[in-house]
Amino acid sequence: METKELTCINCPMGCRITVTMSGSEVISVEGNTCKRGDVYARTEVVSPVRTVTTTIKVTGGSVDRVSCKTKTPVPKDKIFDVMAEIGAASCTAPVKIGDVLIKDCAGTGVPVVATKAVGVNPED
């Protein structure tokens, strides 16, 4: 039996969670104050995931870059692959919040969506 100490990142409470494991099997989760903490701890010890937030190039927009995110969290070890694909991509104004900018980012099956609206550059 081994224990892993985690800090829950689901909300600003930052609960300290102790996961007791036997091999790859989770025996118990303690210290969380809500159900999300339990789910997080069980996923985090086996396959950690993160939402990636960054910006993507916009052409013809009132600004040059628009903020975006992976619509759902991606495996932690894919973060830099996701960044590389977003870095090489671009989109065209106008952009609305929630527009899909990349359908399947870096083979994760997760789309990248805009998190801000960008209008068309009136001078173009």
């Binding site: 990142i9 689901n10 600003p12 930052g14 937030t53 960054t54 870059r65 801000k116 609206a117």
Partner: protein
């Protein structure tokens, strides 16, 4: 020009205050004055997620969170002016300037101060060394990367472990920079725990506690910084110096509420928060002028800014709508041991329309301790907390009926078990 309520600043506090004022009384004419070219304030550059868990029960990025508020303005008939700088505030009058109107004055029934805060710059930190390019506040770097699309540097040291510093450690790393260390003067981080996990631990960025920058080297551009361990009086300890090669130093060393307008209006300022002294209605010492958000006290969560500001906006609307100026008994809220400040610091129980939320910060880190609230004698609240840190705001809620018949101060304190 005339408005019933003028809201100064269109960031998260101003948006929430304006919306709740207009909701309280749809006949009121509410005007937001914003100096930037868009609404949303600092949320526009906070492209990371984690906003809105309390308000919307989902995890949003900063721009998404702001848009949830902005899209309500038109329906409520709230007016706003962008690129407009407020120059002066006094009871019933706001003077501002922009390129279309020149200098103009708005007469009004109430004012809500929502100017937010500023970062503490290098000049305020007295860091010795040369004056090369490459020293930025973390928020300036955040704006450069996230809005302008420029990388401020490639090899980075961050001084201060406040949330913006931690967020920027991750952001710079994602964009290909090498973050060599985050140095923190205090023996604990000033940032949220989850940011330490997500922004530093995830990328193996070292957090060096009880250290500060004692020298900045480089003639044209930063070439290195020297850090040293500090003693319990924050003085560098000779012999502990280490030089770290880098081209960029980011500063995340605290935020200061931006109260030039408040001071000029002779509004009483609390030296512990650098924000106005307010009562339960978020009214300052000048009647009809209210304050909320980071101009009042620096928050770690925007959700709390929105919640607090909507109460302030409602109070401002009630002030304008009602001719009732009666004020009941006034009770002071005092800070006991371990508590640096409380907001509000005055409560008039008769004016409460629901329970009283007192928010406060601790003076240091307390483990396995208790939050105590007493009304001039026995403890009314004695609540155990696993951990209390200055970086995370605490709150206690007092019932209105419990406050109606008390005499003397309310004292909020932290006691160790």
């Amino acid at each position: 020009m005339r408005a019933d309520i003028v809201v100064i600043g269109g960031g998260p506090a101003g948006l929430a205050a304006a919306i709740s004022a207009a909701r309280f009384d749809p006949s009121l004419n509410v005007l937001i004055l914003e100096r930037d070219n868009e609404l949303g304030g600092i949320l526009n550059q906070c492209i990371h997620n984690g906003f809105g868990l309390h308000t919307f029960n989902e995890e949003l990025t900063g721009p998404e969170y702001a848009s949830r508020f902005e899209e309500q303005l038109d329906g409520l008939g709230i007016n706003y002016m962008l690129n407009t700088m407020v120059l002066n505030v006094s009871s019933g009058s706001v003077t501002a300037v922009n390129s279309n109107e020149g200098v103009f004055t708005v007469s009004c029934g109430a004012i809500v101060l929502c100017m937010g805060c500023r970062e503490r710059p290098r000049g305020a930190l007295n860091i010795p060394g040369l004056r090369p390019a490459g020293v930025f506040t973390a928020g300036t770097a955040q704006r450069l990367v996230n809005i302008e699309g420029y990388m401020p540097g490639r090899e980075v040291v961050i001084l201060g472990s406040g949330d913006i510093g931690l967020i920027m450690a991750r952001r710079m790393t994602l964009e290909g920079a090498i973050v060599k260390a985050v140095c923190e003067l205090m023996p604990y981080s000033g940032g949220l725990k989850r940011n330490i996990v997500q922004c530093l631990d995830d990328f193996d960025i070292p957090l060096i506690l009880s250290h500060t920058v004692i020298d900045i080297k480089g003639k044209e551009r930063v070439t290195s910084v020297v850090i040293a361990k500090v003693d319990s009086n924050s003085k560098p300890i000779p012999g502990t110096e280490q030089e770290i090669a880098c081209d960029t130093l980011l500063l995340s060393c605290g935020l200061i509420p931006e109260n030039e307008l408040s001071r000029a209006a002779d509004i009483k300022i609390n030296p512990a928060t650098n924000g106005p002294v307010v009562n339960e209605s978020f009214e300052t010492s000048v009647p009809g002028i209210f304050a909320c958000g980071n101009v009042l006290h620096v928050h770690d969560l925007v959700d709390y800014v929105s919640e607090e500001s909507s109460r302030a906006g409602k109070s401002a609307a009630r002030y304008v709508s009602s001719s009732n100026t009666s004020v009941g008994a006034e009770i002071r809220i005092s800070t006991g041991s371990g508590v640096r400040y409380t907001v509000p610091s005055i409560v008039r129980p008769d004016e409460l329309d629901s329970d009283l939320i007192i928010r406060f910060r601790s003076t240091g880190v307390f483990k396995d301790s208790y939050i105590d609230v007493s009304f001039n004698g026995p403890k009314k609240i004695h609540r155990r907390k696993q951990i209390i840190t200055p970086g995370e705001m605490e709150q206690v809620i007092l019932k209105k009926e419990d406050l109606l018949n008390i005499s003397g101060d309310i004292c909020v304190a932290i006691s160790e078990s």
